[in-house]
């Protein structure tokens, strides 16, 4: 969560540019749920989206106007900015199966692994 202030690219890009996943995680300070969500998200991405994802962290305590603009209600909320369409997930992402369905990560990606 140290990288919270500014959206930051996580792992180095190695996959083809065409399939970049931009995932934005909205948090409100460093709450246990936010920390858990970030850890869960990172695990899932590392497993299923190796090298082709980017996680941006938005702290609403610092940018409260974004909550209105992006229609954020629950914390934490994960928004799949890319690829379209925009998908919204709420909760600490503990239910991996639901996260995969919610982010529409195809079983094919799992098969690659």
């Amino acid at each position: 969560m140290k990288e919270a202030p500014t959206p930051k690219r996580k792992p180095a890009k190695s996959a083809p540019v065409a399939e970049v996943w931009i995932l934005r995680l909205y948090v409100a300070g460093q709450t246990p749920k936010s920390i858990a969500a970030f850890a869960n998200l990172k695990n899932i991405c590392d497993e299923h989206l190796v090298g082709k994802y980017r996680i941006e962290i938005v702290d609403l305590l610092k940018n409260p106007t974004l909550a209105k603009g992006d229609q954020i209600l629950a914390i934490p909320t994960l928004v799949r900015q890319l690829p379209p369409p925009v998908k919204k997930l709420i909760g600490d992402l503990a239910n991996t199966q639901r996260v995969l369905v919610g982010l529409d990560i195809k079983p094919a990606a799992k098969a690659i692994k």
Binding site: K68, A74, I75, K87, I90, A94, N95
Partner: protein, 577 residues
């Protein structure tokens, strides 16, 4: 915190909504949440919106409107329907908007979460304009948008505490549930003030009602109050908020008919009283009302004419036929017609319309013609309730009210369909009197509070000169009106004339006699004069004769050459005696 909350418990936050502050004794609980619940379309959003708007404009308390259902575009239209420009209010930092969009199908729940995002949004909106009021419309949408009810309930509880801690007066709307006040039991969290709105349709006419179910730490009106949504917002008209404390006037106003005034202790009606003119069809009720209107307009008073039967033009035309010209008064703004069919809208709507007209026009006289038509839109209990409130209001404003009431044939004349007789101060009854195959109009005063009024029946004559009240014939033949009265009059006049003739004849005879007498006196006097003349003549003759005799005697003595001294002396003396 608890102590703080208690300290402000009695403080009220005025809503500015007509009637609401009266029944709630000052408004909503300040710094606390209030729940407004009701079925779809009963006016929850409208009430909440008006609370916010009036707060921002009248009480300088900016407000936040959080919509969970309607888009900002829809909301702007809603605000515009009340005559406010939302964008302008937002620019002036009086209102802040937030539309919370939530759609279950677009959201995947993946674990534990809270609604901190919503709190941040609310806090940001509140802080941005220093809001004192907030509306959450309808927060229940969260239940359909999010599946984890456990989290939601915990978060709602936290939300209301949070709002209370911030001292924000909040209005939360909620849709009625099957057995509970709201579908998701919001009343469990909002325990300070609960308002229930209701929307009923009876005989195709809908009435909205409002009831304060609960108001912790405050007294409040407990009845169901009908309310209306109009172009200026919500109007609530509480029956009980109007009392009988109004002051009364001793001023009198003329009825416009001198003879009727004289029947009313010579001065007419009391200012601010309620006058009823009842009668069967065609007895001239409207004519009486308009005569009153005309006289008021001539005095320079403003009149409001609520016509429930005829159009303004028709009334003006018809009144011209009895010599009342109302058109100039309409033109000069002293007379205002409000013609509408009673069935156009519900009773409550009529009441509010009348209220608004009175507030706008500020009339001193108001005519309801006829009040009986209102029964078409409500039961007699409702009509009485509406009229009670209307009359109380009018009395409070010192507006003189004249009602006409159509009594149907066969019904008792001395009662009204609306059972409003107890509300009436002066009751003038017009009735048909049928004699000799013709129908005439009779008038009498059934009651008139606070004045010695005439108990006599008068006949009403409507002509192109206006209204005339004449005495009916009261005599051996009973009460006679119309041509019977006229023929009776003629008969009496004939008798009178004959009597007059007779009197004149006697007078003439007497005069003759007097003249004859005088003539005789004259003759006698002449005779007497003649006699007196004769007497005088005789006396003079005698004197002459006597003095002649003396002279003769002297002459004779002279001739006889008698002793002068003795004879003349003696002779003279003898002659005189």
């Amino acid at each position: 915190m608890v102590k703080y909350a208690r300290a402000i418990a009695l403080e009220k936050c005025p809503t500015g909504i007509a009637g609401f502050d009266e029944i709630s004794n000052g408004g909503l609980p300040k710094g606390r949440p209030t729940l407004i619940c009701g079925t779809a379309g009963c006016g929850k959003t409208m009430l909440a919106m008006e609370f916010l708007l009036r707060g921002a404009i009248q009480y300088k308390e900016p407000g936040v409107f959080v919509s969970f259902e309607e888009t900002p575009k829809d909301l702007a239209q809603n605000f515009a329907s009340l005559g406010y420009d939302l964008n302008d209010l937002v620019a002036r930092k009086l209102i802040a908007m937030d539309h919370v969009y939530i759609e279950r199908s677009e959201i995947e729940e993946t674990g534990e979460y809270d609604l901190e995002g919503l709190f941040i949004r609310l806090a940001h909106a509140i802080d941005s304009i220093k809001a004192k009021r907030i509306v959450l419309d309808t927060i229940e949408s969260l239940f359909s948008g999010l599946s984890n009810e456990g989290i939601l309930r915990a978060e709602l509880r936290r939300l209301f505490h949070w709002l209370k801690d911030r001292g924000i007066t909040a209005v939360i709307t909620g849709e009625s549930g099957e057995k509970t006040l709201t579908r998701y039991g919001l009343e469990e969290y909002v325990a300070d003030c609960v308002i229930l709105l209701d929307f009923r349709v009876r005989e195709q006419i809908s009435t909205r009602r409002l009831r304060i179910i609960k108001y912790r730490g405050s007294s409040h009106g407990a009845d169901e109050y009908p309310f209306l949504i109009e172009k200026t917002g919500i109007s609530i008209l509480p029956v009980t908020s109007l009392g009988l404390e109004h002051t009364v006037s001793n001023e009198r106003v003329s009825s416009g008919i001198p003879r009727l005034d004289s029947m009313l202790a010579g001065k007419g009606f009391y200012r601010g009283s309620t006058i009823l003119i009842s009668g069967t069809a065609g007895t001239g009720k409207t004519s009486f009302a308009n005569k009153f209107v005309e006289s008021a307009c001539k005095r320079g008073e403003r009149c409001l004419y609520l016509a429930f039967e005829e159009s303004a033009d028709q009334i003006i035309r018809n009144m011209k036929s009895i010599g009342i010209d109302l058109a100039p008064w309409v033109k000069r703004g002293r007379l205002k017609f409000h013609a509408s069919r009673p069935s156009l809208y519900g009773l409550e709507m009529h009441l509010v319309t009348i209220h608004n007209l009175i507030a706008d026009f500020k009339p001193r006289i108001i005519i309801v013609d006829p009040v009986s038509n209102l029964t078409a839109v409500g039961s007699s209990v409702e009509v009485k309730s509406v009229l009670t409130r209307l009359f109380d209001y009018l009395k409070g404003e010192h507006v003189t009210t004249l009602l006409t009431d159509l009594v149907h044939f066969g019904g008792s004349l001395e009662r009204t369909n609306e059972e409003i007789s107890s509300l009436i101060d002066t009751w003038v009854l017009l009735r048909d009197i049928e004699i000799n195959g013709e129908r005439n109009r009779g008038l009498y005063i059934l009651k008139s509070r606070g004045m010695a009024h005439s108990n006599q029946i008068r006949e009403v004559l409507l002509s192109d000169h206006g209204i005339e009240l004449v005495d009916v014939y009261l005599g051996a033949g009973g009460v006679l009106t119309g041509s019977a009265r006229a023929s009776q009059d003629a008969k009496e006049k004939e008798e009178e004339r004959q009597y007059q003739h007779e009197a004149e004849r006697i007078m003439r005879e007497h005069e003759h006699k007097r003249k004859a007498l005088e003539a005789r006196i004259e003759a006698l006097r002449a005779e007497f004069d003649v006699e007196s003349d004769e007497l005088r003549f005789m006396a003079a003759g005698q004197k002459r004769r006597r003095s002649g005799m003396v002279a003769d005697r002297v002459e004779m003595a002279r001739l006889r050459k008698a002793d002068r001294a003795t004879h003349s002396q003696k002779g003279k003396k003898k002659g005189v005696r």
